[in-house]
């Protein structure tokens, strides 16, 4: 075979491979684009009910959906006292087509109708692309049927005022040691409480945001403790020791002035954001849900409007090797399988279940997207590429709400000096909660 012939054959084969690859890419890309199943003239009226009093990001998704199906209307309604009224609404004359569920509702008898009446979204006939959801936040109960679509993910950590770090020429700490050193420098620079947060027992509170991811990592690493923790077996409290000890050390080393936090931050949401926007707090412990409120409040803060600064969300550096990233589900949608417009409801969910739509919604709401591609929102840029071994996903643990409440109460007591770590560990299962 002549050399020239070999060259020609090689070129042809290479070209075919390149074209084939490009062609595959195109077909894959086109598969990701939403393609309406039904006629554009389909008339419909859908209702979505939920826990957010304001859900503009979803309303924006409605408008994008209208581009495909203009002859319809989707309405979002906030239900007062959602825990008690969602059941009534589903059983009523005008049941919602889509409703919000949360993981803790699963297994609770009161909310059983929410799941019994939910459409199985993993049904292949529905052609919903659930693969675009990160496996960690995909909610697949034991039977493998997917009854709810994660819409937002959340996490726990801290808001960091990047301008202060730039001004003081400091790096955002990644480990607990670095945190202590950074706090020393910040205190020397005049920041009395380098870290602040809401002194509450709630999830955005100081104890939970800082220490719970570490506790969850402990449980993830030793799943045998999970059952006892959920059953509130006192001895299971030992699982809290490391995280509570680190929390105590964090408070004792002066990184945070708890009294100042109590005095200056009245609640775990609005006050946290507005205090952070004052511009003199280098690090503010909080949850992702708190971060979601920042965008709207930037213009409401006179201090921030006068002196805006750059800020990002970081995982709290509680571990020796680094912080722990809780990849939690914040909100899920279930479809009422008894919906009068079930086809169009499923069509809307199919539309919503894409990296693009979930990403856009998360970006607008400033929460973390459940899709594989992280939101373009640069506030969460630090989470991209977070080391897998320190990620605790929603599906990694099954700590029940009661156990979580015990940890929150324990953490609050330790932070406020009401209990020693030993007392908190020993008192597991009997620590008073709200």
């Amino acid at each position: 075979m002549s050399k020239r012939f070999k060259i020609v054959v090689s070129v042809v084969i290479t070209a075919m491979m390149v074209l084939g690859t490009v062609g595959c890419g195109q077909s894959r890309k086109s598969a990701k684009e939403f393609s309406p199943k039904y006629s554009k003239d389909t008339e419909y009226k859908l209702s979505v009910v939920g826990t957010y009093s304001n859900f503009e990001s979803l309303e924006s998704a409605f408008e994008r959906f209208y581009a495909h199906y203009p002859k319809g209307e989707i309405e979002y309604t906030y239900l007062d006292d959602y825990r008690n009224t969602i059941g009534q609404a589903l059983a009523g004359q005008e049941p919602p087509d889509i409703y919000v569920v949360q993981p803790w509702m699963y297994g609770d008898e009161q909310y059983a109708p929410l799941f019994e009446g939910a459409e199985v979204l993993s049904d292949p006939k529905l052609e919903i692309d659930l693969d675009c959801i990160r496996s960690g936040v995909r909610w697949e109960p034991d039977n493998g049927e997917v009854l709810a679509l994660p819409v937002f993910a959340t996490s726990y950590g801290m808001l960091v005022n990047r301008d202060i770090f730039d001004k003081e020429k400091l790096e955002v700490p990644k480990t607990f040691e670095e945190l202590k050193e950074t706090c020393e420098k910040l205190k020397a620079a005049g920041y009395d409480s380098p870290v602040m947060g809401a002194n509450t027992t709630t999830t955005p509170g100081i104890g939970y945001a800082f220490a719970y991811p570490m506790f969850a990592k402990t449980v993830k690493d030793d799943k045998t403790k999970e059952a006892d923790l959920n059953n509130l077996v006192p001895s299971a409290g030992e699982a809290m020791r490391d995280s509570l000890s680190r929390l105590k050390e964090f408070v004792d080393c002066g990184c945070i002035d708890v009294k100042k936090c109590t005095a200056e931050i009245e609640d775990d949401y609005n006050a946290v954001i507005m205090r952070f926007f004052e511009g003199d707090v280098p690090m503010m412990l909080c949850s992702g849900d708190v971060v979601s409120g920042t965008k709207k409040r930037e213009s409401k803060s006179e201090a921030f409007s006068a002196n805006p600064f750059k800020y990002d969300f970081y995982v709290a550096p509680s571990g020796d090797e680094g912080g722990y990233y809780m990849d939690s589900v914040s909100l899920l949608f279930s479809v009422n399988k008894n919906s009068e417009s079930l086809d169009m409801t499923n069509e809307f969910i199919r539309f919503l279940t894409s990296e693009k739509e979930l990403g856009l919604m998360a970006e607008e709401k400033r929460l973390i997207t459940p899709a594989k591609d992280y939101s373009l929102d640069e506030v969460y840029a630090s989470l991209s590429g977070f080391p897998e071994d320190r990620v605790i996903s929603f599906s990694d643990t099954e700590i029940l709400d009661t156990a979580v409440k015990q940890f929150r109460a324990a953490a609050y007591s330790v932070v406020n000096g009401e209990m020693t770590v030993d007392e908190a560990v020993a008192g597991y299962g009997t620590i008073p909660v709200d």
Binding site: D81, N84, A89, A91
Partner: protein, 830 residues
Amino acid sequence: MKKRYIIIINILIVGLILFIIVKYANDRAGESNRASIASFEKMTTTTEQIIANYLEDEQHLCDIWSNYINRSAEAGTPMTVDEAISYIRKAKISPEISGHLIYIDDGSMKGISTSASNTDPSDYSVNYSHIQIFENLEISNVNGVVNLTRAYTNPLNGVQSIAFLNNVKVLDSETGAMRDGLIIRVVPVSRLEQKLVFLKGEYENVEISLIDWDGDYMIHGKSLKNSNFFEYFKSYNPMSTQEFNKVVDTIRTDIGSMHIRNSKKEDCVIAYTPLSGLESWFLVAYIPASELTMSRSIDWFLLGIVSVGLMILLHFNLFILLKFNRELAVAAEAAKQANEAKSHFLSTMSHDIRTPMNAIIGMNEMILRDSRDEEILMYSESIRTAGNTLLGIINDILDFSKIEAGKMEIIGVDYNFVSLLNDLVNMVQRRAEEKGLNFELEVDRNIPRILHGDEIRIKQVITNILSNAVKYTKEGSVIFSITGSRCEDNDDYVVLHVSVKDTGIGIKEEDLDKLFVAFERIEEKRNRNIEGTGLGMVIAQSFLNLMGSKIQVESEYGKGSVFSFDLKQKVVKWEPLGEFDIAFKRFLSERKRYKVQFVAPKARILVVDDTEVNLKVFVSLLGKTEMQIETADSGDAGIALFKRNFYNVIFLDHMMPDKDGIETIKEMKECKDTPNQKTPIICLTANAVSGMREMYINAGFDDYLTKPIDTGRLESMLLMYLPPDLVVRTEDVTEEEKKIEIMHSILVVDDDINILRQVKEWLSDRYKVVVVKSEEQALAYLEKHEADLILMDDDMPGQSRFDTAKLIRGHFKEISRDELVLQVNKFFHD
């Protein structure tokens, strides 16, 4: 008017018409929009009335419930909670509406309902402790007015509802105590929404929202994202906090409408009004602006037709215009050709007449010089006079053609008024004397000496008037008077009053109008023996018009006329003229016969002309200068001599067959192998039409001289261009100048020929004056001659090579005659 201006004006008119139509249509549309919006606002207030009435009715029904229960209590037979609910259950008609009765005195916010729970048909209990709808209401003291909650979720059926409230007193069946309760009439929001269905017929996309004081919705229009109207507004309508607060205040307090942007940045209209009877509820009607403006009353069809019609009209006009333009262009071309033909004719006529005239006048000049026979001299003098008259006629025709063509321009220069008068008097005096007329001169001695204006044209005007006075006066006198007075409105100017009075034939009154008509001669028959074209006064009047003046005529037929005009001239020097009469009389006494100005035996001259007789005239006129003059009868012959021999000055005729003067000089200039590379070449031309001078200078000539040749000008020109060392002034050898020889000699050095000429004129009557153009020429002159005084212009470089004791430097361009004479006299006196 140029074509493009006409097109632009047409387009502007069409544009203006369309603009007016569009503006009118827009104004109409604006009115229509305002009417639509007003109608929309009216609909909003109507809707508000419907809703307010409905809410009032519902509240009234709630009040009936509470009144019944409370009256029982007042009557001493208070109802228990169960009895009260039982009553309400019976009293209410609609199954959609339910009644809740909760205890408020212990803060539990719990009670019972007329309807059972959706999830448990046996459960009638109701709990409002987790539903935050009473924050802004004084629920312990509800009194009379509509007491309405925001839209909330009915805890028993999950339906979005509104609640009407009133206080009741009920008996606690367990404790027997009287309790404070709150009766709640729960109405689904959808029931209220049904009241608004009628709007869809009128406005397809209208959305009605009811908001509370904070902007939270009771009824939520689907296009209004966000759970709060004010937040929604702020999100998509960026503005300052102050402006935002103003908008919020307006919505809360006023009835009206405004344009807003929705989440898609589309223009929308909201109309707002407070709900009457309720303290802090507001109705907001939202509609896309496009729906309100859809009924715009612009008749686009009519507009289109008008536009097309105007465009057709415009194109038709342009077509007609172009057609006329083409015809005009043809006519213009014909006129242009005729004009060119006329110019050509004038040029040819000028040339063809001047050429033989050159021979006539030139040869006659020779007779005048050489003849001593008085009778021949008399004949010859007549030939000279007739020749000059003929030349004047030709010049008048040329000037008139220039005026007609609009090419005549007034060119202002600084001039000496004495010189101007000299020339005028010199010219007229002789003619007057020849006719035996008494010529009187009256010149105001205070007229400034140096003025700024077109000296040549002024001279021409006065010459024409004076010539006429002399021509038409048989006996008596011609009085030429000039006075001057400072211009009243401008101190830098003087007004010259020029007047020529004669005792001539006079002009009839009816003929005065003909005076300034071209080619029109008054009393042609009577005056046919008087030469003239009938152009003189026309030209004079035209020149004066160009200079902002006008000839005034006063005449008495048979007795004489007075021609006068006032002329405004800028004054350069206010130095008064002085006694002109004296100077003039001296000038008259010094007037003498021709004598050659110089001899230059070593000077070599070449003259090229195709007309043999002209060559002969040229050579004869310069015969007494003793110069070596060679002649050539064609361009080629001239070029051959040019290449071979050296000449100090070359005279070249313009109009020659085969190779004309322009072509000849071009070839001469291109020639490198010649001793005459720096030799000045002067054009000899019989062509005196406008623009010739520029043409000759541009062609490469150093100067030009018109035919018939004026000997004086020719000799002066030669004195200008000949090297001074070759020239010997004839004063040296004449008898008369033996006296001048003992006079002082002055060497004048300046590169400006005009100044040299002027200085020479001023000083020549008292001193021997030699002028040179450069320092080198001066030094060359001084090698062979003596000079008692050297006058050198300040602008000339160098002075070290002259004897400074004999040197006076000055700026001769700005110096007056008297100043210079005084300075020179002083030098020699001292």
